[in-house]
């Protein structure tokens, strides 16, 4: 969740400054930190911007700017300058490059990576791995995958997973657009959602669309559907087929 933390100033390449940037914490696979840290790393070429989704960051700052109602003009200007710089850098990196990866890419085979093994040094290992894989193909197990464990399929009578999937797809098709995400929105829990769904369920079966409140979004649909599945697993909700739809009611254990 982005939240204001502090203000920092960073120098733009070629002179100039971003001014005071109000920092929001930002987290994704390729980066975790504040806008100013991201800006500094991008400026020094120490982060792969292609792996950093900038749209949510921009949205969070735009909201922050709107909410500040002009009280921090310099900070807002700094943030916008930093975001513009990041967008320009990312756009540049997204341009087609000559070193596009293929199965047999052209590369500098003399590359060495510090004290570790370089790619040419790893070639015998790559061949050995290929041979190991071929050997392994000569064996068969009860389960072809080394899974951590498995779940027994749940028997819900005549309703098949495909029926549930179709019902869920119909529900999603009727969902309203998502409203802007509130930075102060409380975390949702499945347990709370299950209580809400259980309260809405009646003894007579109803379709998913009739079960959800009017104006539900796709996120609501996902939460309601997950909660329903969990309630069915616990025996507190029941699913029955009605023509080509699936109807839901309270279960015997509710």
């Amino acid at each position: 969740m982005p939240r204001p933390e502090k203000s920092t100033e960073a120098a733009l390449p070629g002179g100039g400054s971003t001014g005071q940037i109000p920092d929001l914490l930002f987290e994704c696979d390729a980066f975790s930190g504040s806008l100013s840290t991201l800006f500094l790393l991008a400026r020094d070429g120490r982060v792969d911007l292609l792996g950093v989704p900038l749209a949510p960051l921009c949205e969070a700052y735009f909201r922050h700017i709107l909410e500040s109602e002009g009280k921090d003009i310099e900070g807002c200007a700094g943030a916008l300058a930093a975001l513009a710089y990041l967008l320009e850098r990312k756009s540049f990196h997204a341009l087609p490059r000559t070193e596009v990866e293929e199965d047999e890419p052209d590369r500098d085979t003399d590359l060495d990576f510090g004290p570790g093994l370089s790619l040419p040094e790893l070639q015998p290992a790559i061949e050995a791995l290929r041979e190991l894989r071929q050997e392994a193909e000569g064996r068969f197990f009860r389960s072809p995958e080394a899974q951590e464990g498995y779940l027994l399929p749940l028997d819900i009578g005549e309703v098949q997973p495909a029926d549930l999937a179709r019902a869920f797809a119909r529900l999603l098709a009727k969902a309203s657009p998502e409203p802007p995400e509130l930075t102060s929105a409380p975390r949702r829990s499945l347990a709370e959602q299950m209580r809400e769904v259980l309260a809405a369920l009646r003894s007579e079966p109803v379709s998913l669309v009739d079960l959800l409140p009017v104006g539900f979004t796709k996120t609501d649909a996902v939460w309601w559907f997950l909660a329903l599945l969990e309630l069915i697993r616990l025996g507190q909700a029941r699913a029955v087929l009605a023509e080509d739809d699936v109807l839901f009611s309270r279960g015997g254990d509710a």
């Binding site: 975790s32 982060v47 792969d48 790619l119 015998p124 464990g149 498995y150």
Partner: protein, 190 residues
């Protein structure tokens, strides 16, 4: 009830490799006794029948012997695990250099490797192992037990060792798995 038969039942019922410790808990016997029984069972099955006990991904599992593979393959029609040269290279870099970041993989290979890395993540051969404590806290990657299983390895210690040959070129040596050792012992006995 013979301990060997109990172990065989556990191995038959398990869908993934089981450690000697877990089996010892299940049969309420000391681990060393289970290990002895596993060894005896391995010898017994190696001499007779279509099954063998293999040591994989830190545990033991029942598998068919390789001479039965063609018939089983015709029955099950398994999808072959196709790994492109690029994916094999990324996998080798991760296996030998883990934990490693995406940027470091790219530096070793000299090309953008994100696509291959994602393919390996999807196939559960590579996983995220944490974040490095450097600016930007990039994700670190390592291999999975699925990787060990699919490449016939018991642990990362069994990865082929790299050594410099007489002519100065790099060689991959090993691995010598417990199954290889057993085969050698049985050959010597014959």
């Amino acid at each position: 009830m013979r301990l060997q038969d109990l172990i065989l039942a556990l191995l038959f019922a398990s869908e993934s490799p089981v450690s000697a410790e877990l089996m010892a808990q299940a049969v309420d016997r000391p681990v060393y006794e289970v290990e002895e029984a596993l060894e005896a069972l391995g010898r017994r099955l190696a001499l007779d029948g279509p099954l063998q006990v293999v040591r994989l991904a830190g545990g033991f599992q029942l598998a068919t012997k390789s001479e039965f593979a063609p018939a089983v393959a015709r029955l099950l029609e398994p999808r072959p695990l196709k790994l492109s040269q690029a994916m094999l290279e990324v996998l080798a870099v991760v296996a030998y250099r883990q934990p490693i970041t995406s940027a470091e993989i790219q530096e070793v290979r000299g090309v953008d490797s994100d696509y291959s890395l994602k393919q390996l993540l999807d196939r559960r051969l590579v996983m995220e192992t944490g974040r490095r404590r450097t600016p930007g806290r990039p994700i670190e990657y390592g291999t999975t037990s699925q990787f060990l299983h699919q490449f016939n390895l018991n642990s990362l210690q069994d990865l082929p060792q790299l050594a410099v040959g007489d002519d100065g070129s790099m060689l991959a040596i090993g691995p010598e798995t417990p199954q290889d050792q057993l085969a050698l012992e049985l050959e010597a006995e014959e």
